[in-house]
Each structure stands twice: as C-alpha cells, then as structure tokens.
C-alpha cells in the first residue's frame, strides 16, 4: 500500500510537468512551421490579422486542450467501467458506449441540424447511456452474457450495427460527409464553443467518478463482499454509470470516437498504482491525457506532411495490448 501510494503521488506530482511538455510540443510543432516567439506572442499579444496567431489560437491550442480532456475522460470512464463491472475488457469503445453516442449524434444531425452545442452534448450523453443500456441489457438476457468476453463480443457487434444504421441513414439523407466527420475523430477541427462547454460536463463526470472511487474499490472485490460490507450496490452502480455517460458523451461530442484509450490506460494505471480506485481514477486521468496528447503529436509525423487519424495510433498501441490481455486472462472474470 505504502509503495503504491508513493507511486501514485509521484505520478500526480510529475504529471503537470509532463503534460505541459507534451502540450508545448503539440503547440510548437505542426504542419506549418511557427517559431516559439510567434507562439508566445500569439498567447500574450494576440494579433487577429496574423495568420500564425490565428493558427495557434484557434487551431493548436484548442486542439491540445481537447485531446488532453478527451484522453482523461475516456481513461477515467474505462477505469470506472472496469471497476464496477469487474470486467477486464470493459471500456467505452468495446461496450458500445462510444457507438451509442455517435449514433445519436448522427440522428441529431440528420433530423435537427441546427441544435445548439450544449444540446448536442446532452444528446451524445443520452447516446452513451443508450449504447451501454443496449449492450448490458442484452448481456443480461444471455446466460453468461455478462462475462468479459461475451460482453465484449456483444458490444462490438452492437457497435457495428449502430454504425451501419447511422451510415445508412446518413446516406439516405445525403449527409454522410458531416456524419463521417463525427464518426471519425476530428481533433484537427475542434469547435471552440464546444470545447468550453465540454469542460463543465466533463468535470461533473470526473467529480462523480472521484466521489464513487472508494465504493468502486469495494465493488471491485465482488458484489457479495460489497453488499456484506453494507454498500448500497445499486446506488453505486447508478452514480458510476452516470459518470461514464457524462465522460464518454462529452468526449464523443467533442472529437468523435476514439478506441482503446479507455481500455489500455486503466490497465497500465492499475499496474502502476495498485487496486485502490482512489489512486487509479486521478492517475488514469493524467496518464490518459498525456497518452492521447502524445498520440496526437505523433499522428502529425507518422505520415508527414499529412495527418494520420489519431485512431490509427491508438489502435497501433491498443491492438497488441488487447491481444495480450485476451491471451493472459481469456474468459476469466477479473477487473
């Protein structure tokens, strides 16, 4: 316990430096060369007529902010899901939560094209809840359906189903262009208003997650034990699912679907800091933020001067990791 406390403390202490570093790199380097002095001026003495200043202010800064937030949101959402379901494969992308969001957003674009941003976020959250609801509902219909592997299979398949329907609808209404922009991550065109709006929504999710951290730790020991210790398991479940919905919904509304962050980061975090979710949740947040910002920087250089979708990079890390998890744990139940 002592040792893992120390680890989590040093992660949290070091994180501002690391995150500042990756953010700085992200702002300094991009397709267009902009020197550090201009960057500094863009921040301190903004000149609206200067194109470089515009790029920094409306392009790179919102972008890095969005990536940091989304990384943190998804990692925490994944950690909460893994803890509460005691399922080592639980994560927003594998359990249909991401797809639910993107699906509802598609419907919104098609049927109510001019919704204000905050309603978009709310709808996206609704979609998260819908996705999770369908997948877990289906899982509980099937014998053994809530086992990690079955749930992952159901989640993926339902995700594919939702995205097929969304594609079909988008095609019918001839808005596939707009829709695919939502479905594929769009970190390079973050909407400033959306970014600002997403902060309070995401914060609610983070706070809910932190508040239930202790209860999640106990739940991760097993439902029977948790009940035996006098925990209101149902209430814990509802609060933590609410946190997941807030976090994932906001993340998808902001940049679209990103896979594997919510799966990989919680595992790495747990490996580093142990099993206490009071440490896991904040650490997962900073590690997730750092990881996604790093992927974003790399995505500009993998295929320079063209940008690679960030999802390709997270998949590059995520797929081998996923295979490793499957190889190691198979069908066993364990978070």
């Amino acid at each position: 316990m002592k040792k893992s406390n120390r680890v989590s403390f040093s992660i949290l202490a070091l994180s501002p430096v690391l995150i500042a570093l990756v953010a700085l790199v992200s702002i300094l380097y991009g397709t267009k060369d902009i020197d550090a002095i201009t960057v500094w001026q863009a921040i301190t003495a903004f000149d609206a007529s200067n194109v470089d200043h515009q790029i920094i202010r409306t392009g790179r800064i919102p972008r890095v902010a969005a990536v940091l937030l989304v990384g943190a949101f998804l990692a925490v959402a994944g950690a909460v899901m893994q803890g509460i379901t005691r399922n080592y494969l639980a994560s927003p992308s594998l359990m249909g939560v991401n797809d639910g969001s993107a699906f509802v957003i598609t419907l919104a674009i098609v049927f109510f094209p001019d919704l204000p941003n905050y309603q978009m976020i709310l709808l996206s959250m609704l979609g998260s809840a819908l996705g999770a609801g369908i997948v877990f509902g289906f899982g509980s219909l099937i014998r053994n359906g809530l086992s990690p592997v079955r749930l992952a299979i159901i989640g993926t398949v339902i995700g594919t189903f939702l995205s097929s329907i969304a594609t079909a609808i988008a095609m019918y209404f001839q808005v596939s262009q707009t829709v695919s922009a939502w479905y594929n991550t769009k970190v390079h065109m973050v909407d400033m208003d959306m970014l600002i709006l997403s902060i309070p929504f995401g914060l609610v999710g983070l706070i809910l997650a932190l508040l239930s951290a202790r209860a999640i730790t106990i739940t991760s020991l097993g439902e029977d034990i948790a009940t035996g210790l006098g925990q209101k398991t149902k209430a814990v479940r509802i609060v933590s699912m609410l946190a997941v919905v807030c976090l994932t919904g906001t993340a998808v509304a902001l940049v679209g679907k990103i896979a594997f962050v919510g799966l990989v980061i919680p595992h790495i975090t747990r490996f580093l800091v142990g099993v206490d979710y009071r440490s896991i949740i904040p650490c997962a947040a900073v590690i997730g933020a750092f990881f996604l910002a790093l992927c974003d920087v790399l995505s500009r250089y993998v295929n320079y001067p063209f940008e690679t979708p960030i999802g390709v990079l997270t998949a590059l890390v995520g797929v081998p990791f996923f295979l490793y998890l499957v190889r190691k744990h198979g069908g066993e139940k364990r978070a």
């Binding site: 053994n144 189903f161 097929s164 329907i165 979708p309 390709v312 797929v319 295979l323 190889r327 198979g330």
Partner: protein, 343 residues
C-alpha cells in the same frame, strides 16, 4: 433414410435456384433506369438490340448480379468450412478478421499498383488477377495470427478466437485506413468505396478474376465436405478414426481463406453472409455437410443479390453499400444466435 435426405436436398436446391432467379429478376428490372421484362428478355435473347439496354444490362446490372452471386457462393461455403473446423456456430470470416486481413493486403496492393489503372483495358489484366493473390496472403497472415493467439494448450479456445478476431479487425482496419489516406484522392475514393463492401462498380473482369479461385477451391472444399461431418465429433474421436486432424483442418482453413480473399478482393469486406448462410442451410437440410455446403452457397448468393437489390433501390438514387445492408440484416441474426446458444 438416405433417399429421403437427398430428396429434401434436391427440393431445397431447386427452391433456392428459383429464389435466386426471382431476386435476379428484381435486381435486373429495377434501378435508376427502369426496364420492362420484355425489354430485358428481348435484349438478352438478342431479339432486339438497343444500345442503351445493352449497356445497362450487359455492362452494369448483369455483371453486378453475377458478382453478387459469386461472392455469396464463396462466403457461404467459406462460412460452412470455418464453422465446421472451429466447431463454433458464431465463426464468420468477417468476425474472425480474415476479411480485414485480406482487405488490408488488397489496399497495400492498390497503394502500390494504383487502382486507377484498373479499368477494363487489357494491359491491366495481370494486375487485377494479382489482387486475389495479395488478398490471400493477407487473409492467411490474419488467419495465422488469429489461430495462434486463440490456441490454448493445443486446442482452439472459442472466446479467444472471436476476441482475437475483434482485435485483428481493428488492427488491419487501422492499417487500411492509414494506407488509403496516403493514396491520391481518386484512389482513396475508390478504396473507400471498396472497403465499405460494395459491388456497384462491378464489371466482367472482376467476375473473371475470382472465378478460377471459386471454381478450384469451391470444388476442393465440396469434395472435402464429408470431413466436416467428422469434425462435429470431439478431437479425440476424430483422431481415433484415423483422420489427420491438424493437417486436414489446416488445408480446409487455407482453402476457406482463399475463398474469402477472392471475394474480398472483388467486393471488399462483407460480413455475416458466412454466418447466416450455413445456419439457414442447416435448418433446411440437416447436418450432413455434402448437403449443407451447396445449399449454403446458394443461400449466400441469394442473400447477397437481395441485399444488393435493397442497397441500390431503397435509397435511390444514392446507393447503400451492400456490406452495410448485410450488417443491418446480419447482426440481429447474430445476436439471436447468441441468445439461442447455450452459454
């Protein structure tokens, strides 16, 4: 007893052929350019030549139907083989990631050999003929990856198999996306359409490309279909009967990967046909694979022609990729099977 089963089989085949004819009829008469039955019959029988009708029928609709049928046959047969050798009713080339592997290889091929060369002119024939071969290599790599990850103590672990498939799918999907983004805009467009699983830019060359694969491997797999009966027993019993289990499974697996790759190289990734067709076939003719195999092939063909018909008419004038239509139909079926199967 044998008499009865074979009668059922013949009747089923006949009904399915009629169904395919019906679906083809729907497909050929409907479209952006509506034609009457008499027009079509006249054109087909060369009683009357109208260059417009000729173009629409011979260059657009007929090759498309033929390719839909061929792809359906290939996927239907491959599905029977995969479900047979894995003893898992949920195995499907799309779910297992073989589609994605073959797809990534074909994207690599397109990337290096430039898709835009692939028009109907003779000089590019060689490169078109190479596509299934590339697909086969990619599909085989995917299959080897999947099976080596899913092996546990020398036996296939079914849950791992599907999970590995999910991972392989996203991995190869990301690779394809990455490569296709490096292509020129025009190539990217074609690659994107192709990857979604579509057959609407079908032409006779594509049909000819996959035909030899389908013929050779199809016949091979059909001739080996009796083995799949034995594979319904557990491993020890099969070995006891003197079947070289691992060797035969490997051969059948490679053959089915070949079938899938030929299909994927022409139509892109189309999932769930390989899942649905064998199940429906078994409902119709029982569990003897020499009956199941051809029936599943015809069901695959029929399903795909119908799905393509739906894709091209429901949202006309815009077309919905047939792969998406199949997913929308196939996934509920998959879930239904999942609910039905005992844990």
């Amino acid at each position: 007893m044998h008499k009865k089963a074979s009668n059922v089989f013949l009747m089923t085949m006949l009904m399915l052929l009629l169904l395919i004819l019906g679906a083809s009829y729907l497909h050929i008469t409907n479209g952006v350019f509506d034609m009457s039955v008499t027009d079509i019959i006249k054109t087909l029988l060369r009683l009357e030549t109208n260059s417009n009708f000729d173009l629409v029928i011979f260059e657009f609709r007929l090759p498309r139907i033929v390719i839909a049928a061929l792809v359906g046959i290939g996927l239907g047969m491959a599905g029977v083989v995969l479900q047979g050798i894995t003893r898992n009713g949920l195995a499907d080339p799309g779910i297992l990631g073989i589609n994605a592997g073959a797809g990534a290889a074909v994207v690599i091929f397109m990337f290096f050999f430039q898709l835009r060369l692939m028009t109907a002119d003779m000089s590019s024939w060689m490169s078109i003929l190479m596509m299934p071969l590339f697909g086969f290599i990619g599909g085989t790599i995917a299959a080897i990856l999947i099976f080596s990850f899913a092996m546990k103590n020398g036996h296939l672990d079914m849950q791992r198999l599907i999970l590995t498939g999910i991972a392989i799918n996203s991995g190869f999907g990301a690779l394809s996306l990455f490569l296709s983004l490096k292509m020129s805009a025009q190539d990217f467009e074609s690659a994107a359409i192709w990857m979604a699983g579509s057959i609407y830019n079908a032409n006779w060359i594509f049909a000819l490309t996959m035909l030899p694969w389908l013929l050779i491997l199809g016949i091979y797999v059909y001739r080996k279909s009796y083995l799949l009966d034995y594979f319904q027993l557990e491993e020890d019993s099969i070995t006891s009967l003197g079947i070289a289990v691992e060797k035969e499974k490997m051969k059948l697996l490679l053959a089915s990967v070949g079938l899938v790759s030929a299909c994927v190289s022409v139509s892109g990734s189309i999932g769930f046909i390989g899942l649905m067709a064998p199940h429906i076939a078994k409902q119709l003719v029982g569990i003897q694979h020499r009956y199941v195999m051809p029936v599943s092939a015809l069901i695959g063909a029929g399903l795909l022609i119908l799905a393509d018909f739906i894709g091209k008419t429901v949202f006309a004038p815009s077309e919905l990729a047939v792969g998406i239509v199949v997913s929308i139909i196939g996934i509920p079926y998959f879930l239904y099977l999942l609910v039905k199967s005992k844990a």
